[in-house]
């Protein structure tokens, strides 16, 4: 079990820089998720750690060892591919044993490890099938089992759930979490799905355009997004972003929307730079309220009932769309005109550089 250190690593394809002097430290046993939109460089970064991409600058260390000059097979890592990449002409057993044979693990040890991994992933009955004769979910399990038998220092998972259907994805997600708990091995998991990131990660690394936007625990990322990008990428439904001007600054900051409405926030005014700002409000901190006295008035367009809560898609008088939230038993109906109340302590402000300003954390 080893930690991983990325020290100023860069990757260029010709004139295009895809990873620019990126540094990151991952603790031993940690479950880290690389999260970002497609093309942000998260897979490239993972493949650089695996050794599948060359490193154009900087260092990569796994444990105490510098690995960026080592062949992939010598780095002590195992990887689960998005398309599983099982060897089509080999049986499940051979697939799992292949890497161990290459490492000259004794035959009885191989048998033992294969059996253990197969048992853990409940693929015992499949061991002698050809990998092409398996369903997608079965292939996924074999791919994970193939990684496990190697007892690597580091697991790399490249969007491993994206080819599964919703039910299977949930189940496998849970299993991966359990696996991590059981093995305690360091894992790096690449995804563009923020739900997977939130549910699995000890820490999330949000990547954008070849650089790190923010590193933090899921709740850090969610509650105090460092940038407007992070705020808008994490969270479903998406955070509402509204252009505002700072109206009054005191202990708290009061902002004015384009339509003239005034909203109070709990952001400390002292921290704020001058100029135009963007107000970030997650749907769950906008609630329907009586029309009188509410800071905002809006017309309901769509009511989305999710059971335990209800999402209200509304438009302000000037046509700005907003998503608000109500309880599961909401009585609001499409076409209603309602007032909206805002929780000031959950409001975020983003300055012209996209940097976030958040209310001081309580407690």
């Amino acid at each position: 079990m080893s930690g991983v250190v990325l020290d100023g690593v860069s990757k260029r394809y010709g004139a295009v820089t895809v990873i620019d002097r990126l540094s990151l430290t991952i603790a031993a046993g940690e479950f880290v998720v690389f999260l970002g939109p497609s093309g942000c460089g998260k897979s490239t970064l993972l493949r650089m750690i695996a050794g599948l991409e060359t490193v154009d600058g900087g260092e990569i260390r796994i444990g105490a060892r510098r690995v960026d000059h080592l062949a992939p097979g010598a780095r002590g890592v195992a990887m689960v591919f998005q398309q599983y990449a099982l060897y089509p002409h080999m049986s499940v057993r051979e697939n799992m044993a292949f890497g161990l044979r290459n490492a000259h693990v004794p035959a009885d040890e191989i048998d033992r490890r294969v059996a253990a991994a197969a048992d853990a992933l409940e693929i015992m009955p499949l061991l002698d099938r050809k990998s092409t004769q398996l369903s997608g979910g079965q292939q996924q399990r074999v791919a994970i089992a193939r990684a496990i038998v190697k007892q690597p220092d580091l697991f790399l998972l490249d969007e491993p759930l994206s080819n599964l259907d919703a039910a299977l994805r949930m189940r496998t997600r849970l299993e991966i979490a359990q696996l991590h708990q059981r093995l305690g091995t360091t894992m790096i998991f690449v995804t563009h799905d923020q739900v997977e990131a939130m549910t699995l990660a000890d820490r999330i690394v949000v990547l954008n355009q070849g650089g790190i936007e923010q590193v933090g625990s899921p709740m850090d990322i969610y509650l105090t997004p460092r940038t407007e990008f992070v705020a808008s990428f994490v969270g479903s439904p998406k955070i509402n972003l509204l252009p505002v001007t700072v109206e009054a600054a005191g202990e708290m900051t009061r902002v004015r929307l384009a339509n003239g409405a005034i909203i109070d926030t709990a952001v400390a005014a002292a921290d704020l730079p001058a100029g135009a700002m963007t107000l970030g409000l997650r749907p769950e901190c906008i609630r329907p309220a009586a029309l009188d006295g509410a800071p905002l008035a809006a017309r309901v367009q769509v009511v989305e009932r999710l059971g335990e809560r209800t999402l209200l898609h509304v438009v302000l008088d000037d046509g700005t769309p907003i998503v608000a939230e109500d309880s599961g038993l909401s009585a609001v109906r499409p076409g209603d005109r309602i007032g909206l109340a805002v929780q000031p302590e959950r409001a975020h402000l983003f300055d012209a550089d996209g940097l976030g300003h958040h209310p001081a954390q309580r407690g």
Partner: protein, 295 residues
């Protein structure tokens, strides 16, 4: 340390080339050098036992003023036009019908491939016997049907089509097998989707199958163009290039000038022209198919 990485990478690159090296050695020894040798010969007056002298482009000038050579160029193109499209289309048609696992399909596949295993000597002998107006198979059939047998191989206009038929009979196995291999790799899901969409056979063929095997189609065309441009044995053995030069292709011209007339330089010049023609034809075909793909 930092400088270690790039140096190591370059070393690896060279070792990568070791995979292609064995082939490249043979390629250079058996194609590049002989071709260069041939190009040099084409600028000389030589026979098989030595070179008399350098003559520059004289051989090429003579070629393009030689009505027999110009006719062989036309004959070769004509033959390629007669055979290649038919080979591709018939090969595809056979593959489409025979691409199933039923026993009868396997038997038919073998039948359509069987003629490919014969050598050109046997093929031409058989087809000469078929085309003979006097006692050939076709004439027996024609007479039985009350017609007058036609002297295919002695007729200026029919001789080349007769050779083309012989060639198609002989060569149809290769395109069929290539298409079969391609068809078996078309994902079944595509057909299922088409079936769910109630697509007709024709639509399934034109919208699903053909796009899926487009690359194989281009491959078959290129291979056949290259092969059929080198037509030689069939006319040599069936018509000797006649009647009235109607079936004399370039390769037969090269053979006759080089081996029979001992004009190696002149024959080499004709071989260079053939090389250029094949190259252009293959490149045009490649360009067409890649352009279609890009669109």
């Amino acid at each position: 340390m930092a400088s270690l990485t790039p140096r190591r990478r370059r070393a690896t690159d060279w070792t990568n080339a070791l995979f292609v090296l064995p082939y490249l050695i043979v390629f250079v020894a058996m194609i590049v050098v002989p071709l260069a040798w041939g190009m040099w010969l084409s600028t000389t007056k030589s026979d098989l036992f030595g070179t008399e002298g350098f003559v520059g482009l004289t051989n090429f000038v003579r070629l393009f003023g030689d009505p027999i050579f110009l006719q062989t160029v036309w004959n070769t193109f004509y033959f390629v036009l007669l055979t290649v499209p038919l080979l591709a289309v018939l090969g595809l048609a056979l593959a489409l019908v025979l691409n199933r696992q039923a026993r009868w399909a396997a038997v038919l596949r073998t039948i359509f491939f069987a003629s490919t295993v014969l050598s050109v000597t046997v093929v031409t002998l058989v087809w000469r016997l078929v085309f003979l107006p006097d006692s050939g198979l076709l004439s027996v059939v024609t007479r039985a049907l009350g017609g007058t047998p036609i002297a295919f191989l002695n007729d200026e206009t029919l001789a080349m089509p007769a050779i083309a038929i012989t060639t198609i009979w002989w060569c149809i196995g290769l395109p069929m097998v290539l298409f079969l291999a391609a068809l078996q790799q078309v994902p079944r899901a595509l057909y299922e989707a088409a079936a769910l969409d109630n697509a007709s056979r024709w639509r399934t063929l034109t919208r699903i199958t053909l796009p899926a095997i487009r690359r194989t189609f281009a491959l078959v065309i290129i291979i056949e163009v290259i092969l059929q441009f080198q037509l030689f044995g069939q006319p040599q053995l069936m018509t000797l290039g006649g009647p009235n030069n109607a079936t004399r292709p370039i390769v037969l011209f090269i053979y006759e000038t080089g081996w029979r007339q001992w004009e190696l330089g002149y024959a080499s010049a004709a071989a260079q022209v053939l090389f250029a023609m094949i190259l252009i034809a293959a490149m045009v075909q490649y360009w067409l198919s890649s352009r279609r793909e890009a669109r």
